[in-house]
Symmetry: C2
Subunit: 316 residues, 2 copies
């Protein structure tokens, strides 16, 4: 598949940070930035910009806050055409923590939101665009969005927001290809002046497949992470995505190298990837948090029991 408009965003450090509370050391972040840059990836998302007044720095590593100095130190001296993105969560950042873009090393701000908070998200993304950034709105937990509410949110985003991209975020890894078709076509119906993005999770081994489906349907912004690192079963693996996209600007080799050197050892220390409890929560269209909690108990591999507990949870 080759379409010049397709932009790839690597969110290894940002989504990977969800499984270690954003405590990556500088050297790891440098290696990721180096590999992603050499691979010709368009954007790298290096963490969250949260306000310290809201999220405690005692509980999270520096990539939860992405101070300008920390980013500069991590990328210092590395040749790169890759733009830098940070994510902001509605309700976890104050506007004063978003500098004017000309004073920042950041190029893009992605606003993560639920459908219900779309007004706040629009306010936040417009602030970012006004300050000079590229801005996106990423609608999380999309597999739970009520159809009529999503329609209204998309209509509002088209009319009121200055975001250039609106993402489908399959937080629960619950989408199938037919749901991707349905959502992309809905997004495109409303978003006449914006691009559609796809951020898929791999709980049912469909992260990559759903991303391809999104591309076929017309998404031009797609997310991946190296070796699929990310919350629960992780994300669409960047290496597969780059292998699929035929744009000659991409080079798979640096990604291969950094997987061998950094990600195999890391996988020994922190857990992500296909595990049955995540498949089960995805089948129930649930957040993986209950499966993540299970994985920290002695019952972590009692799959039948976990399945039965999920069934029992379904009440009216």
């Amino acid at each position: 598949m080759y379409r010049e408009e397709i932009k790839v965003l690597d969110c290894t450090v940002r989504d990977g940070g969800l499984i270690n509370d954003h405590y990556f050391d500088d050297e790891f972040v440098r290696e990721v930035y180096k590999a992603v840059s050499a691979a010709g990836v368009d954007y790298i998302e290096i963490g969250y910009r949260c306000s310290r007044s809201i999220m405690s720095p005692d509980k999270f590593g520096k990539w939860k806050f992405c101070d300008e100095d920390d980013i500069r130190r991590a990328i210092d001296g590395i040749e790169s055409d890759t733009k830098i993105s940070v994510m902001v969560d509605v309700g976890r950042v104050e506007k004063k923590d978003i500098l004017p873009c000309k004073d920042s090393v950041i190029d893009m701000i992605r606003v993560a939101t639920y459908v219900k908070d779309i007004d706040k998200a629009i306010d936040l993304v417009n602030e970012a665009v006004e300050k000079g950034y590229e801005g996106t709105v990423n609608i999380m937990a999309i597999s739970r969005a009520a159809d009529n509410e999503l329609d209204e949110a998309l209509a509002q985003l088209e009319a009121e927001s200055r975001a250039s991209v609106v993402y489908i975020v399959d937080s629960f890894g619950a989408l199938y290809s037919e749901s991707v078709d349905h959502l992309v076509s809905k997004y495109k119906k409303f978003l006449k002046t914006k691009e559609v993005g796809m951020h898929a999770h791999n709980n049912q081994q469909l992260g990559y497949a759903n991303t391809i489906q999104g591309i076929i349907d017309g998404c031009n912004f797609v997310d991946g992470t190296i070796y699929g690192i990310g919350r629960a079963a992780g994300n669409c693996p960047l290496e597969l995505l780059i292998g699929f996209l035929k744009n000659p600007k991409f080079d798979l080799r640096p990604v291969m190298e950094v997987i061998s050197r950094e990600f195999l050892p890391l996988r020994q220390k922190i857990e992500w990837g296909y595990l049955i409890p995540y498949a089960i929560t995805a089948m129930f269209n649930e957040h993986p948090r209950v499966a993540m909690a299970l994985r920290k108990t002695p019952d972590k591999d009692n799959y039948r029991e976990f399945l039965e507990s999920m069934s029992a949870m379904e009440v009216d």
Copy 2:
């Protein structure tokens, strides 16, 4: 997805046997048979029927040969409506080793073939059907089949064979959803009186996704293996497939239980699943054998080097 015609075949023991030379012990096979039967799966493929005059019994375990007595012992006393299948490879079985169905515990014989051997496959499947079995032809390495030769083979299968199902076998795990669409539509064009089957591999994490795509396109016979066990990256995971199919006859719980009890310990002993070298061979549309060989060397995790060696291999 619910379509009454859809039949699921579990080939855990058969395809799993490709990574341990078919040396599963009886207890493991019994546990798989028990779980698959309780799960309501339509067929179980328990191994190959090879002739001992052709394949040496010194080099392979008993599930390479599937003697009637061995099968009977493995299933003895277990309540089941699941039909039993064995696979035969063109050139590895003599007709005399296929008993009349009335004297056998086997219900279905699946003939594995390359496009070039289609005449032999037709001869073999017709022999099986004549003897009373359900018969299928499984066209391997389909991602390498020349379009005109595949057309001819499918036309012949329709005209000359008594197979009730013809499978797409993505031996290299190289297909994308669009190639699945293309192949299923081609199969259906030629095979007016037969069902289309899908056997997918997971080298690019698309085993399950391509199976769903096949179902959407009209395949009514689909293969899975428990916990995705199988050669290289393995197969479409049966647990995901059953989670997707909404037919009330399926029960996921016994599959969950057997994964915890049998497959987690087994995975510590033998290797399958997503590993970068298999993703690389799939991207090059190559058999995973060179990646499987790599995995037995000290360079098993030198992914960049392996990628470069694969690129260098591409000659005219």
